[in-house]
Amino acid sequence: MAADKTNIVESSELPVAMIDVATSFADWLIILPTVIALMGAALLIMLRFNKAIQAGLAILIVVGIIILEVRLFLNVMEFGTQSMTMGKWLPPFGISFTVDVISIGFALAGAIVTLAVLIYAQADISSREVKYGFHSLVLLLLAGVTGAFMTGDLFNLYVWFEVMLIASFGLIIMGGRKIQLDGAIKYGFLNFLATTFFLISLGLIYGLFGTLNMADISQVSAQAPIGPLTAIGALLLLAFGMKGAAFPVNAWLPASYHTPHPAVSALFGGLLTKVGAYALLRSLLLIMPSARDFLDPVITFLAIATLILAPLGALAQTNLRRAIGFLLIGGVGSVLVGLGVPTIRGVAGASIYIFHSMLTISALYLMAGLIERIMGTQDTRKMGGLYSASSWLSILFLVLVFAVAGLPPFLGFWPKLLLIEASLSQGDVWLVVALVLNSLLTTIAGTRLWAHIFWRSGPVGENSEQENKKLKPLTLREKYLCVTPTTILVLFIVFFGLKPAMIFDAGRMAAYGLLDNSEYIEVTGLADPTKEKVE
């Protein structure tokens, strides 16, 4: 019966609805990282009682994904944006995966962070948690994140958000302590709310445009009535702002990110909020720039508030990982600055900032895990004297603090410089003030942490001058498994800080890709031939 049906379709004269160009391996690179991560997660959950092979297999899969993504990154840098539409259907009917520099750059950084976390986690999680599918959930999270970065379809983006949410629920409660359940509820509730807002705006977008393909919407959004478009833009700003933990919807992050294992915190800090920030850039710059123009004052206000309030929060914290959570939120403010000054420099600055923040924040959380391990507490008041115990850790921590604050010569300096230049050229003096203040406050908050944890000899109180005897030195296994990945992430930050040319190139290309939608539309296969004639 099915055979008859295909014959009918072939013999009748319907308009072409399918792609008939052969698909090469280069095109398959677009989808493979996501599919391999997803299938790897499925494979690992099937083998979850076979604890011995879990870690090795997971690391092997992530290394494979990194190799494929490096290849794809080089392809994109050389040949420009690439696209593949699933199931041979022509876009916008098929689901498109469209990969430009910003997509693959973030996906690659995400995979590298995941690899570091997987190695670190070998000394961090118990064999019981391996049985509960830790590695499988990490890969599922990676699949969600990679899919979200690469997809060219808004509804598909929503699906990847859900995949991430499922995986992150599993990871945040892994261990099952009371405080984790408390964190998971705050995290879960606000994230559910955010995805619901996203879903509502998807309904409105479909009502307004009749399509959910990003390239397709981008093509027509300029002609849409500004009222409904702005409403949609505001909803998306709220939804993705919540996901990315921007002011004033950031409270869930410091309330939940310190509860799971440090490795999981690092994974969340490096990947999850960045997807929210990426989705903001993608939706408000590429898809509906006119809504962004209308919302410009709101975005500027949010950027300034996030930039200044977040490091103040960090200053007030005595819990190490909560303080890092606030530093992470401050970074979201920098991304909002890029959204507020949509010039090549501004957007390049925001993109590079996200890349930088993925590496730096993950490394900071991994570092926090090491510090907690030695100190036996999360409370910075009870810490002290780590400098004499491990000078190497103190150097790494200080580098990370300077990188987060945006001091040269580390990676964090360059995106801040671009953002300040962009804000100055647009005449947004307040943004410049906020950025500089943010750097200053972050430096104070970070060095305060450093002083308390490393410099001071003992905990707060009478014994602060005496040597801290409660320190528990790292075992050799912990040194290999935990310090090595942290060090490698820090080396990335130092290397890219000293040699920023490649990052600048990629950032500029990413910004071009977001600000000028013509290439994105063309490679997706939606360029309208009649429109060019009119022009």
Partner: protein, 140 residues
């Protein structure tokens, strides 16, 4: 709930439901049905068996961990998409093969394989949840 009548009927009911779920799965391509609804029916069969015979019994009968079944489903759904690589068409493109068996023609396809994957994913997930809930009930 745990009466003699129910315990006697349950195995027959479960057998019928599982066969019916496969029927629903296979007719799904062109008619109402498919992997999702088929998986739900099979999972309810397992839930019924769990109420009648106890969760321990069900886990023994299933042989595989329900979560592993769900993972298997996701895995072969992904595999169904990857098969199109060998025909130089995009991911998830439907590929068809026709078998002539006597007078009838049997259509095999990657969408069917994908649907079987969905069937197992739904079956495994819902069964895992149902069994966990029933286990809680038994513990009280």
């Amino acid at each position: 709930m745990n009466t003699v009548i129910f315990r006697t009927i349950a195995p027959i009911l479960v057998a019928i439901m599982v066969v019916f779920s496969v029927f629903i799965l296979l007719r799904g391509h062109n008619e109402p049905g498919g992997g999702f609804i088929g998986g739900l029916i099979a999972a309810s069969a397992i839930a019924i068996y769990g109420i009648a015979a106890g969760v321990e019994e069900v886990r023994k009968a299933l042989k595989f961990d329900p979560i592993a079944i769900a993972g298997f489903g996701v895995f072969i759904a992904g595999l169904a998409g990857l098969l199109s690589y060998f025909y130089q068409v995009p991911f998830l493109t439907g590929l068809w093969a026709y078998l002539d068996i006597g007078p009838s023609k049997v259509a095999l396809s990657t969408p069917l394989l994908f649907d079987i994957g969905v069937y197992f994913a739904v079956l495994g997930t819902i069964a895992a949840i149902a069994l966990a809930l029933e286990e809680d009930e038994e513990g009280k």
